[in-house]
């Protein structure tokens, strides 16, 4: 069974702390994504990666960085956590479109990490 695993289900951190959110997938997917989900705002893309050591900014990258040293692992880093980063964080992975743009592949999601910054 395919799996995307997020290291923590719930996390509580203090303002100013450096926070690492880890995500591991076992499907050998090239693409990995970090979204945050807030009530009334839906899912917003923070960063995505299409290969090891490759990354691209999503729609709301400010205050975040990412690391992809191995194909199966994609980390989201909050350099100095702030209260407005309290949110549900969702990791996902997918295969790239086969041979042509836009054919699309479905995303596989982890269960999410509910982060509270106090």
């Amino acid at each position: 069974d395919v799996k995307v695993t997020q290291s923590s289900r719930y996390l509580v951190k203090r303002t100013g702390e450096k926070v690492f959110l880890e995500c591991v997938q076992d499907m050998d997917h090239e693409n990995m994504f970090w979204y945050r989900q807030d009530p009334g705002l839906g899912l917003r893309l923070i960063y995505f990666s299409y290969d090891v050591k490759m990354k691209e900014k999503g729609d709301i990258p400010e205050g975040y960085s990412v690391s992809r040293e191995k194909k199966e692992r994609f980390s989201l880093i909050l350099e100095s956590a702030s209260t407005n980063q309290t949110s549900m964080y969702l990791c996902a992975s997918s295969l790239p479109p086969p041979f042509a743009r836009g054919l699309g592949e479905k995303l596989f999601f982890g269960s999410g990490t509910q982060l509270s910054v106090l």
Binding site: G42, E56, K106
Partner: protein, 113 residues
């Protein structure tokens, strides 16, 4: 950025009834996907429909796509209490040779037993 917008925001029905959710988007797409999310969990892929398709079925799910109106609908027939969840549409936005999805805000479906 292009984004799917679901309608209604919330829907409450009785078990056995059909549920219809709509999604509108702003720019041309290559495909549209529907996802489901149980409370406090990750999203699960339901169905993908390509821009050259008009209708697709999967079990009790029926998805339509009208590219001229830039809209899609998800129909769940003979609903069950277990269908209670949030439903999201997602549209593609190809960047370079890679692939990115943009999600709407979702429709919260409640199926009452």
């Amino acid at each position: 950025s292009q984004q799917g917008e679901e309608d209604p925001q919330a829907l409450s029905i009785q078990e056995g009834e059909n549920a219809t959710m709509n999604c509108s988007y702003k720019t041309s797409i290559n495909n549209l996907q529907w996802y489901r999310q149980n409370s406090g969990r990750g999203l699960v892929h339901l169905i993908l429909i390509r821009s050259n398709e008009r209708e697709k079925h999967s079990g009790r799910l029926r998805v339509t796509l009208d590219t001229s109106k830039k809209s899609s609908s998800l129909l769940i027939t003979a609903s069950r209490a277990a269908d209670t969840a949030s439903y999201f549409c997602a549209t593609d936005a190809v960047r370079g040779s890679n692939y990115k999805l943009t999600f709407g805000k979702g429709t919260l479906l409640t199926v009452n037993p």
